[in-house]
Amino acid sequence: MAFNVRSHTQNGTTVLALAGDLDATTAGEFQDRLTSAVRPGLQRLVLDMRDLAYLSSAGLRQLIYARQNLEDEVRVVLVGTNERVRRTIELVGFDQSVTFVDRMPE
């Protein structure tokens, strides 16, 4: 499934909406968008994963890198992850570094 990412920033929150398969061939595009999103003044990074079907280690690596480069007080929120994506994140313990929610936060 083709990968697609859309982003917007408002009031210190950047939202990245991910769709499709995030694998080794698409992680570069995700990295570019993620790097652009990590800016001074960012308070919250929201990753809308409701349409993300697949997450490989290549995408996970970018997420971990982004988390490590954010200030500790910046929250990383994952929205609507499917069970398989969530289990993948849990396998490497990254679930302890992010917040899972079912719906888009206000």
């Binding site: 080794a24 490989s56 996970l60 971990i64 849990e90 313990g93």
Partner: protein, 159 residues
């Protein structure tokens, strides 16, 4: 059964298609099919990027640099074996980080392999790396999470 693909990331689609077909034939539960894809992708990209050191998805393949993927199913399990002629490397021999905080970003994929499947092995025979993963059929086994780590699978290596 066997699939031979050039050692480029652009061949990942063919690898994924093979895994998808195998999972359907084996009637694997959703999570088992998913984790078989996870580990196969990780092993394949590891061979391409680090074994053969190809970093660009669309670079033309170099002659004789290819990955052979053998696969099949038995009554009990599904198996996939990736074979390459790169330098000897055991992807199961790298220490597993306790959590994502301690795991090195570079080895997160290797961590994932060992946590996603319960049976995997590596051999170096006649100048080839041969890494095999197996996923049981008929039950959806719960893999280890980082909070409930089990020892990694045995890694056999003959160098």
């Amino acid at each position: 059964m066997q699939l031979v693909v050039p050692a480029v990331l652009g061949a990942l689609d063919r690898v994924n298609a093979m895994v998808r077909d195998l999972a359907v034939r084996a009637a694997l539960p959703e999570w088992d099919a998913y984790r078989l894809r996870l580990v196969t992708e990780e092993l394949f990209t590891n061979i391409v990027r680090h074994g053969y050191r190809v970093r660009e998805p669309r670079l033309p393949s170099i002659p004789d640099q290819h990955v052979v993927i053998e696969y099949g199913l038995t009554d009990d399990h599904v198996w996939v074996r990736l074979i390459d002629t790169a330098d000897p490397f055991d992807p199961l021999g790298v220490p597993v980080g306790a959590t994502a905080c301690t795991a090195r970003r570079e080895t997160i994929g290797l961590d994932l392999i060992r946590r996603a499947v319960s049976t995997a092995s590596h051999e170096y025979i006649n100048g080839t790396n041969r890494t095999t993963v197996r996923v049981p059929r008929g039950l959806e086994s719960a893999p280890a999470s980082a909070r409930h780590l089990r020892p990694g699978p045995e890694s056999s290596r003959r160098v």
